[in-house]
Structure formats: C-alpha cells, structure tokens
C-alpha cells in the first residue's frame, strides 16, 4: 500500500518536472526551489521504502527456499565450512541479481540458476569443492534406515561426488523431482540431450557403486 503510494508520487514527480523550466522562466524562483526540494524528498523516501521492501521480500523468499540452497551446497561442498562459504556466496550473488528478477520464470528456477552458476564458476580457489571429496564429510542417512541401505547410500553419495559439476547439477535436479522442461530452463541443455545424459549418469553411477 505504502509502496504503491510512493510509486504514484514518484510518477507524478517525474511528470511534474516538466513544469520546472516553466517556473524558472516565470521567475518563480522560490516556488521552484520548494517544488524541487519536496519532490527530491519524495523521491528519496520512495527509494528508501522500496529498498526496505525489497530487502524484506528477498529475505522472506530466501528463507522459504533456504532448503534448496542448502541442497546445492550439500552437492558441491563437503565440509561444513565450505558449505557455509558457498551458502554465503550464493546469497550474495542472488541479492545482486535480484533486481533483474522479473518473475518471467519461477523463483525456484531462477534460484537454481544463480546457485549452480555460483557453485560451478565461483569457487575456483577451494579445490576440494570442485574435484575431490572426503568420505567422512558425506551426508549420512536418516537414523532409522537399515545398515545395508545406509552403506548403499554412502556408496551412492561417494559416486555422485565423483561426477563433474554439470552431472551433479543434473542429478540434483533429478532427485529434486524437477521436470525436464524446468531442467532445460535452468541448465540451458535441450531436453533430448538431458535425457541422454541422465541415462549415461545412471550407468556411470551404477558402475561406480558396483566397483566398490
């Protein structure tokens, strides 16, 4: 409501600026000064309110989708410290890119794009995020599962950790139950290509887990 009010004020302010040269020409100097200071004040207030609103909206959206970011961090980083760093990096990049988000795609799609891009290109220095993994840092299954399944889970996790970043992204989106349509939108890979890759990844994982 307040935001709309200030938006309207801002539009009116922009429209009224056409009057300024006219006022100046008519030597209505004091009127012009009053007009400019008032409109600047409105402009500033609008910007401040808009910023606060944007921040709150962003915070709410991130909090709602934080599980997704944690899952991306889990997929690309294996120590708690690395995950925290990656989480922070993703949120910073999301905040910077947020003004460009116009709702043309789903928020989750946009979030995955930023998160995967950050993970793939953004953490060159921390080599362990890219290539290697440490078994003790891999996630463990929920406590009530059978020991045998737990071992299989660990094996599969180890196998996933050996995939490259793009394969990891495909696996993660697949596990999340995202449609191939959405996966195409996130990754920019055609659906046909994605299906072929998925089959190959499954074979690769099967081989990796069988070799253990």
């Amino acid at each position: 409501m307040i935001k709309h009010f200030f938006t309207e004020c801002f539009i009116v302010y922009n429209d009224l600026t056409f009057l300024v040269p006219l006022l100046a020409r008519e030597n209505l100097f004091s009127a012009r000064v009053t007009f400019i200071s008032t409109s600047r004040l409105i402009g500033k207030s609008f910007a401040r309110v808009a910023d606060k609103d944007t921040e709150k909206e962003f915070e709410r959206r991130i909090s709602e989708h934080s599980t997704m970011i944690h899952k991306v961090c889990r997929m690309y980083a294996y120590t708690e410290a690395d995950r925290q760093d990656l989480f922070q990096e993703i949120v910073i990049h999301m905040w910077r890119a947020y003004p460009n988000f116009r709702g043309q795609s789903k928020f989750s799609t946009w979030l995955y794009r930023v998160a995967i891009n950050t993970a793939v290109t953004g953490l060159r220095k921390q080599k362990n995020l890219i290539t290697s993994y440490e078994a003790e840092h891999l996630p463990t299954h929920v406590a009530d599962e059978r020991g045998d399944e737990e071992e299989q889970w660990t094996q599969l996790n180890e196998a996933i950790a050996q995939l490259n970043e793009i394969e990891k992204a495909i696996v993660m989106l697949y596990l999340e139950g995202r449609s191939y349509d959405e996966m195409e939108e996130i990754l920019g890979i055609s659906q046909g290509n994605l299906r072929v890759k998925m089959t190959r990844i499954k074979d690769k994982l099967r081989q990796l887990t069988n070799n253990k």
Binding site: E55, F58, E59, I62, S63, S66, H70, K71, Q84, D85, F87, Q88, E89, V91, I92, H93, W95, R96, A97, N100, F101, W110, R113, V114, I116, N117, T118, V120, T121, G122, L123, R124, K125, I130, P139, H141, V142, Q152, W153, Q155, L156, N164, E165, I166, V171, Y174, L175, E176, G177, E185, I186, L187, G188, I189, N193, I201, K202, L205, R206, T209
Partner: protein
C-alpha cells in the same frame, strides 16, 4: 541402490540440522569468489599506479620547467594513464562476469569467453608495452639523454636486438606460464564442462 531409489532418501534427509544464517547479515558481506578477488586486485593496482604517478609528478614539480620538455617524463605519465585505463577496462569486464542468473550453459559460455578475452588483452597489452619501451630505448638517445649512447647504445646492434628478441620470447613464455598457473587449469576445466554440455 539405484538413483531412483535415492530420490525418497534425498527428500527425507533432514536439512533442518543445517542452520540458515541471517540473510540480511549475509547480503552485507563481501563476496569471496574469484571474480571478487580479481576486482579487488584491479582496484588495488589502479590505486597503486595512480599513487606512483602522483608521487613522481609531485617530486618533479620543482623542476617543472625542465621536466616539461622531457620525453621520458611524458612517456611515463602516458604509460601510467594507459595502465589505469586498461585496469579500469578489466575491472568493468569482471563486473560483467558477475552476472549469475542466466541458464548455466549460456552463463558458462559467457564466462569462459570473457575470461579468454581478458587474458588475450593482457598478453597483447604486455607485448605492446615491451615493444613500445624497446622503441623508446632505441629512439630517445637520438634526441635526448645522449649519455645512453655511450652505454647501452655502445653495444653492437646485433647484441641489442638479440637481447630484445630474447626478452620478448622470455616474456611470452613467462606470461603464458603465469596465466596457465593462475587461470589455465580453471579455464580448461570450465571449457571441458562446456564441451560436455554441447
């Protein structure tokens, strides 16, 4: 266990154990990624070159009349200004590389292209600077700083030009090795990823 069996387990996993940090606090933090470090490096270099240029100019203020006709002095100022310009262009380029909201494949393509472009500019820039200084070294003593004619220019032209060529070759390999060490592996890795996506 097949990947499809893993789906349920993935969803069941308790992510609540991981606490979400304060978002508002996070967005106030500075990025620690490689692009941010590159930007910081360019910023520092711009400040350093500006400070150096200002320092030299200030120390020469007393001799402004004699210095104003010195070719070397103006060359140095011109060199510093072009360095600042080049660093600023690099800085702007890294800003473009920060965009992370495109589809992963497009983003990666853009990132790799920009990175390659930047490294190419850097290599070409370094060579141009060296050639420029070689030319300067050869030409200046003919007009000013005649003292140099009895030192470096006293050597036979073959030796001088062979040294220049050797230096250019050395610089070529050194800059390649440094670029490979600093960005090469990362860039190769991203290029491989990109090829796999095609």
């Amino acid at each position: 266990m097949e990947l499809d069996d893993f789906k349920q387990a993935w969803k069941q996993e308790d992510h609540k154990q991981t606490t979400t940090p304060d978002i508002m606090e996070l967005i106030q933090q500075k990025s620690k990624g490689p692009i941010a470090s590159l930007q910081a490096a360019f910023r520092k270099q711009m400040i350093a070159v500006t400070a150096l240029m200002s320092a030299v100019t200030i120390t020469q203020v007393k001799n402004i009349e004699s210095v104003s006709s010195h070719l070397l002095f103006w060359t140095y100022i011109g060199f510093c200004l072009s360095m600042i310009g080049a660093l600023y262009l690099n800085y702007r380029l890294t800003h473009k590389m920060e965009s992370m909201d495109g589809a992963v494949k497009n983003n990666l393509e853009q990132y790799v292209t920009m990175m390659e472009k930047r490294l190419q500019w850097q290599a070409v820039g370094a060579r141009i600077i060296i050639i420029f200084f070689i030319l300067l070294l050869e030409v200046i003593p003919l007009f000013q700083h005649v003292r140099m004619l009895s030192t470096w220019h006293a050597l036979p032209p073959v030796v001088r030009f062979a040294s220049y060529a050797a230096y250019l070759v050395f610089q070529y390999y050194l800059s390649r090795a440094l670029a490979q060490k600093k960005f090469g592996r990362h860039l190769d890795h991203l290029r491989n990823l990109l090829n796999e996506m095609k």
